[in-house]
Symmetry: C2
Amino acid sequence: MDPGSALRSARDDGAVSEIAENSDRQSKGSLTVVGLGPGEAHWLTPAAQAAIEAATDLVGYDPYLARIPAREGQTRHGSDNRVEIERAGHALRLASAGRTVAVVSGGDPGVFAMAAAVFEALEAGNPAWRDIAITVEPGITAMLAAAARTGAPLGGDFCAISLSDNLKPWEVITTRLKAALAADFVICLYNPISKARPWQLGEALALAATQRSPETPVIFARAVGRPDEALRILPLTEAVEAAGTADMATLVMIGASTTRLIAREGQRPYVYTPRSVTKSPCVTSQGRT
Amino acid sequence: MDPGSALRSARDDGAVSEIAENSDRQSKGSLTVVGLGPGEAHWLTPAAQAAIEAATDLVGYDPYLARIPAREGQTRHGSDNRVEIERAGHALRLASAGRTVAVVSGGDPGVFAMAAAVFEALEAGNPAWRDIAITVEPGITAMLAAAARTGAPLGGDFCAISLSDNLKPWEVITTRLKAALAADFVICLYNPISKARPWQLGEALALAATQRSPETPVIFARAVGRPDEALRILPLTEAVEAAGTADMATLVMIGASTTRLIAREGQRPYVYTPRSVTKSPCVTSQGRT
């Protein structure tokens, strides 16, 4: 009987307590944090696909697991969205017991997703876990997919900020937003809004409107690559008003002062940020404040 | 004879002048800017692979074209690294003449690569080009691959800055670096150094050393995913000294104040940035300046 067979039908942490942890430091267990990319399988890399196929156990938020076809002999450990560290610990315990574990994550696992949670759980957890072979398989992160769909808005320097204040004070977020606005970065906002955080995106966009031109293109890219994909390009003043229409599946991108539109007849304009910069961002910012 | 057959063996812009531009506004030409990802094919998405296979013409910097297996009936238009706008115009002319063109780019085409150049050429060029169906296929960009290989250094807010001052003044770059340091972003430096720009990376790292702890982890990730991959994790003080060892194939990542190492016996430590932030970046920055 192989060491992990008791887990074949496990779906919660309770079942894992059956495993004798660290019973074999030479166990062949491994853990791969896999980026599924946004949307459909055509943005899933062959390396990520191979990691999923090789896994004995898949661990992840239920909607991500639902994107992976069932496979005989492979156990799924689904969980809610709010338990990243517990999920990471569960995956490490499975790997420590000799299982071949894939922790699945939307987009890229290193960008506001499961990879950091796995290393946090590793650092705080059983020292024997450090012998587990841990791999991270990158994926197409939401801002790259949103940028590709709309043109080339990330053609210049840019930053990515999670608007969730669950793990950091709102003051830290606004400090970073102000710095990014003053330095004229294109700004990608992850986790822009949720039922529990209804006002943060509106405040962030209003802050942007104090620094950047009212015509600055703002992209609301929802569920890119999925059947319910919805893209909107709004001038900043309208984006402030429309903040409440975003949700957790939306990537919001605020253009830099140089970000431009190319009009097209009967179609959405392209958005792009030229690679060249001629003005100092400090001068721009001071000129508007 | 199909409209593009004269181009089958064309390799430079000279031959393209043979094409009657805009002879058919209903031509079925198309242009896809394709991200090859870093390194080997296991990080190439199926969508990017399909775009490459469907193309009649591949346009790109020679080393990127060299990564694509030859295909009968497919013409390659290779060029030097320094001619992005000319290359983009060439690709648009081919598409306008009815060809199915793939412009290939390393990593993600939207991040300091060919997508912005294509839209710049489109905006400045023949108005008929706006009828061309243009698609961007995203790819794994270098910072995601470098992050995946080393742990989860992008677990918190981050920015990406091109250190090339070919298209923007050095003053703009240092303004952005200072803002990113003060706001405690993890900082990804693209195009860190070249023969023509030998001192910029050293200056950027020295600037970082005035703001961040000497022990801040700095990643030099060279040619990730290729046979000559080389990864180094250095404390900031040593990274300043080692700047000259980077090259154009290197992605340099400067940790935030919260970025940490997890030691492993006999192996490179993992690098990760916890998702939680407790201190204000302003306070941190003021405390060190």
